[in-house]
Symmetry: C2
Subunit: 216 residues, 2 copies
C-alpha cells in the first residue's frame, strides 16, 4: 500500500493500520460479549505481537490496567476516536462495476461508522439502477449531489483511463481523502490524501514469497 | 496492509511493495515506448522519492548508469525476476461474487504474468456460470482441480464465515500464499504467507487524515 500524504500526522501509517486492525477485532469481541482482553489475547487473535500492541497504544496515553487488561468497549471507543471514526462518515463511491458493487455491499461499514451515501457511474446502463440501498447516480452530478451529502471520502473504482478525471471532480466537490483502486498514480493537490489499493502490487509481494520453491 | 509471514525474506515488505509499483510504472513506460528513465522521472511519476528508489534497487546490485539512467526493459526484467514474476503464475480465486468477479476481470494481470486459472464458488446459482474466459467451478472440487492447474496463490473473497474453511482447503490443495479479502484473521501453518486486504482498514486510515477539519 502506498499512501502519499501532504499533511504530517504524528502517528506513523503502520500504527494507524494496526489500530484499524485492533478496532475490527474489538468490534468482533463486543459482538461476542467479551468484556476484557489482555495484550496476549490480541497477539493470539491478530498475529500482532503484544509488545507492539502496547507500543501502538502508548502514543495515545494510558490504556488498560496492569493485571486486569483492557476493557473492550472503552478501548474500542478510544481507538475509534483516535481514528476519527466516532461519528458517521459519508462516503461517495465512483464507479459502480463489480468492484464498486462489492464495496457498496461490504459488511462491517456501518459498525465502523462509514456510510456509502452515494454511488456514481457514467454508463447509462448503470445510472438509475438500484444497488443495495442506493440508486446509481450520474457521474456528471457528483458536485451537485455532494453539496447535499457532504462526503469528504471518495472511493474510486473506475478504469485507469477515467480515474484522474473523476478524482479531479471529487476534489472540486469537496472530497479530502481518496481510496484509489484504479491502477494509476493520481495527481492531486498537496492537501489531498490518497491511498492506493493495487491488487497487482499485493500479488507481486506474495509472488516474491514463492521464491525458492518456484525457482528450482 | 498486514502481512504475516513465517519465511524470513531478506528484503523488507515496503521495499517489495515499492518494487511492484516500479514494475507497473515500467510496464506503462514500455507501452508508451519510453526507452530510458532517470530516478527523478520515477519520483515525478510515482511520488516515491529518487533517493528511496535508488536505495530500493541497491538491495539487488548494480542498476543504471550515472548520467544515462535506467533502461526501461532491462530494469523491468530485473524487477520481475526479483519478484519472481518472470514466469506465468497460475492463481485460484475462491468466491465469485462481485469482488471475485472484479478480480477475475482485473486489467494488467497478464502483463504481470498472473493467470487466473480457476474460480470457485459454493453457490449452485453461480457454479457453471461463465465469467470472463472461465466457468465458475464448484468449491468442493478445489483439490481435484488444483492437482491439474498447480496454483500456489489463492485469492479468497468469500464472506468471513466461510474464509477459514476455504483457506484450509486451498492449503491442502497445495496453495502456499494467500491474498485474503475476508475480514477475518486466518489461522494458517507457519510456512504459509497471508496478506490481508481490508477495505475497512484502508478507510479507517484515511479517516484519520480528516482530523482537524472533522473535529472542529
Amino acid at each position: 500500500m502506498n499512501s502519499n500524504s501532504s499533511s504530517s500526522p504524528k502517528v506513523p501509517i503502520p500504527t494507524l493500520e494496526r489500530l484499524a486492525t485492533y478496532l475490527r477485532f474489538l468490534i468482533d469481541l463486543e459482538a461476542a460479549q467479551v468484556e476484557t482482553i489482555s495484550s496476549t489475547d490480541v497477539e493470539k487473535q491478530t498475529g500482532i505481537n503484544a509488545a507492539q500492541f502496547r507500543k501502538d497504544l502508548s502514543y495515545f496515553g494510558e490504556f488498560g490496567k496492569p493485571g486486569v487488561g483492557y476493557n473492550v468497549l472503552e478501548l474500542q471507543a478510544r481507538i475509534a476516536r483516535i481514528l476519527k471514526i466516532d461519528q458517521l462518515q459519508p462516503i461517495m463511491v465512483i464507479g459502480a462495476g463489480n468492484l464498486g458493487s462489492a464495496l457498496i455491499g461490504y459488511p462491517g461499514l456501518t459498525e465502523h461508522k462509514f456510510h456509502i451515501a452515494a454511488a456514481f457511474d457514467r454508463d447509462p446502463a448503470k445510472i438509475g439502477r438500484p444497488q443495495g440501498d442506493l440508486v446509481i447516480l450520474n457521474e456528471a452530478d457528483v458536485r451537485e449531489v455532494n453539496a447535499e451529502i457532504g462526503a469528504r471520502i471518495a472511493i474510486i473504482c473506475v478504469p485507469a483511463a477515467a480515474a484522474q478525471e473523476v478524482a479531479d471532480t471529487a476534489i472540486l466537490a469537496g472530497v479530502r481523502v481518496i481510496l484509489n483502486f484504479a491502477p494509476i498514480i493520481l495527481k492531486v493537490p498537496e492537501r489531498i490524501v490518497v491511498r492506493n489499493v493495487s491488487f497487482l502490487q499485493e500479488l507481486a509481494v506474495l509472488s516474491y514469497h514463492l521464491s525458492g520453491e518456484s525457482q528450482k
